[in-house]
């Protein structure tokens, strides 16, 4: 595709994004060989894993050898908390981010200066895929902080040369006022927050045609085609899906282009594979399975065959936009029990460990996820203990608040706790059914 003017790029890095399959494989091979050498010598955990399967770095000669390598999981990151998986000395790490882990311990990732530059590059490519350019005003309504969303999009936007409004999440009326006053053209947030913005906008008597919104870049939680249509109609913009996970880099691992036909993976940095989550063998090309990434340029925390647990398929056909970067479909589910609620990763085991610490409750619970209006809600039913409950309402309310606070500080999102009678949560084959997800995605 051609650039419209010297100022406005339709494809940020044409050499890479439109490379032939052979060129891409050659680049991936070269980088993979280098990465394997590096992690083997700098991360004892990887060296041990490779030795266990009888591999030495010299066995990895090209991208075809990728499937010989052992997998990495979230558990590996947790076991090496906080910095055990870092491949460089801490003096080289210029930033850390963290996401919630399975048992309360967060997963920590570290970035070198070069990693941050690479991250900005892949986010910039993603913004351009979405249709943004340097004249845009980009309102970043993802949270800033340990979560990668806010800062990730932020630096990609600066790298593009567009204007950033670093408003972070929440404060909805102010978000809308600034959109109006500053003439925001690109909004980035979670899709459910986008719908909430539309709702509040309506309450405030502001019509989308009063605003200059043109593009919305939404991610960090699963959303459906129906939701896309609703957002596009209510906010009058093009809604683009962006994908990422902090372990791999953050947002910008992949992103849709104008044709909204799957997310282009920045595969010169993150090499994707699809495996069968049961057999762990690679599936036939185009088949659905679990997405696995190997980072081939990252310095801070390189990952070999990291199991994302997201289920999807890869599309290798050339895209109408001209990019040759492989595309991944919208993820259709998870191969573990992780839930994404308001953009936050929630594992049922986190709730279990909180309840186990408390003597007043049974570790039997039911998590009910709903979408009320446009926001996810989380309700937790907890069984009171059979013998040691207080008969004073005040104390029962205090217990309810105690559970609420503990769960909220563990998960990082608000929860509505409901105390229920013992043995009222259904057990199936001796095990309780833990989660009911009523969201229609």
């Amino acid at each position: 595709m051609i650039n419209c003017s010297s100022d406005i790029k339709m494809i940020w890095n044409e050499k890479i994004e439109c490379a032939s399959r052979e060129e891409m494989r050659a680049l991936q091979s070269e980088r993979l060989v280098e990465t394997v050498q590096r992690v083997y010598h700098s991360i004892p955990g990887y060296r041990r894993k490779m030795q266990e399967v009888g591999l030495v770095p010299a066995d990895i000669r090209s991208i075809d050898d990728l499937s010989k390598l052992p997998f990495t999981t979230k558990t590996d990151l947790r076991d090496n908390y906080p910095f055990g998986m870092f491949a460089v000395p801490m003096s080289e790490i210029v930033r850390v981010h963290a996401s919630s882990g399975t048992t309360g311990k967060p997963t920590v990732v570290g970035y070198t200066r070069k990693d941050l530059n690479m991250w900005a590059e892949v986010v910039t490519r993603s913004l351009v895929m979405a249709g943004a350019h340097r004249n845009d005003i980009v309102q970043v309504a993802y949270g800033y902080g340990l979560f990668t969303g806010g800062l990730g999009i932020h630096y990609g936007t600066e790298n593009l040369g567009a204007t950033v409004i670093p408003i972070s999440g929440g404060n909805t009326e102010k978000q809308i006022r600034l959109m109006q006053d500053f003439g925001t053209t690109v909004i980035t947030c979670t899709p459910s927050y986008a719908l909430y913005l539309a709702e509040v906008m309506q309450e405030m008597g502001i019509r989308p045609e009063d605003l200059k919104l043109r593009v919305g870049i939404f991610g960090a939680e699963p959303w459906s085609e129906n939701m896309r249509r609703e957002i596009e109609a209510k906010l009058r913009l093009k809604a683009i899906d962006i994908y990422g996970l902090s372990e791999v880099i953050g947002p910008g691992v992949s992103c849709e282009c104008q044709f909204q036909a799957g997310m282009h993976i920045n595969e010169d940095h993150f090499v994707p594979e699809i495996i069968d989550p049961q057999t762990l063998q690679p599936v036939a090309p185009g088949e659905r399975g679990e997405l696995v990434f190997t980072t081939v340029t990252k310095e801070g925390i390189p990952l070999l065959r990291y199991r994302t647990r997201d289920l999807t398929r890869l599309i290798y056909d050339r895209c109408e936009c001209g990019r040759t970067l492989v595309r991944m479909e919208k993820c259709t589910g998870r191969s573990d029990d992780m839930l994404i609620i308001r953009g936050v990763n929630v594992f049922p085991s986190q709730i279990e460990s909180v309840l186990l610490e408390m003597s007043e409750t049974e570790p039997h619970y039911l998590l009910i996820v709903d979408r009320e209006g446009n926001l996810d809600t989380l309700k937790l039913m907890v069984e009171v203990q059979g013998q040691f409950f207080s008969d004073e309402i005040r104390e029962l309310q205090a217990l309810r608040m105690k559970i609420t606070h503990k769960i909220e500080s563990t998960l990082g999102i608000s929860v509505d706790v409901k105390l229920v009678e013992p043995k009222t949560i259904e057990r199936t084959a001796g095990k309780a059914k833990r989660v009911i997800d009523n969201r229609k995605l």
């Binding site: 203990q385 008969d391 009222t424």
Partner: protein, 142 residues
């Protein structure tokens, strides 16, 4: 006197109270008095029964969350002003009450069930003011 009150945790859903009373009825346990404290989500049923141990046992057998609480039972004349006179004595001595409820025994006598924050202090106050209480007609019951 001090009695063991039986408390049952109940979710606010239809039929639960009915189940508790049916279970006790089937076990031949009479409910002398009861009260319910409730919130929007759950409630606590508090009962005075002749055999609290047996009541606890049969309710636990049916998976209810049950416990017993020590409460004070006080007889009071079934006439206007007697509850006020009794409560005045307690409040003058700074006895805090978590909750109380009452029931009529007959035309002449009512029973007040008191759950003070500090039961020992409350008993001490009652004993010390026995004369005043009795002159107002109140006395320990059962």
């Amino acid at each position: 006197m001090i009695a063991k009150q039986v408390s049952v945790f109940l979710e606010n859903k239809s039929g639960r109270l009915n189940e508790v009373t049916q279970i006790l009825g089937d076990a031949g346990i009479n409910i002398s008095a009861f009260s319910i404290a409730d919130t929007s989500d759950f409630g606590v049923l508090r009962m005075i029964v002749p055999d609290p141990e047996k009541a606890v046992e049969v309710l636990r057998d049916h998976d209810f969350s049950v416990q017993t609480t020590r409460v004070i039972l006080l007889n009071s004349p079934n006439q206007p002003g007697s509850l006020a006179a009794t409560l005045k004595i307690l409040s003058d001595e700074n006895v805090f009450l978590e909750y109380l409820y009452a029931f009529s025994m007959n035309e002449n006598t009512a029973v007040i069930v008191i759950r003070p924050t500090d039961i020992d202090k409350c008993m001490e106050v009652i004993n010390r003011n026995r004369e005043a209480l009795e002159s107002s007609g109140s006395h320990f019951q059962i």
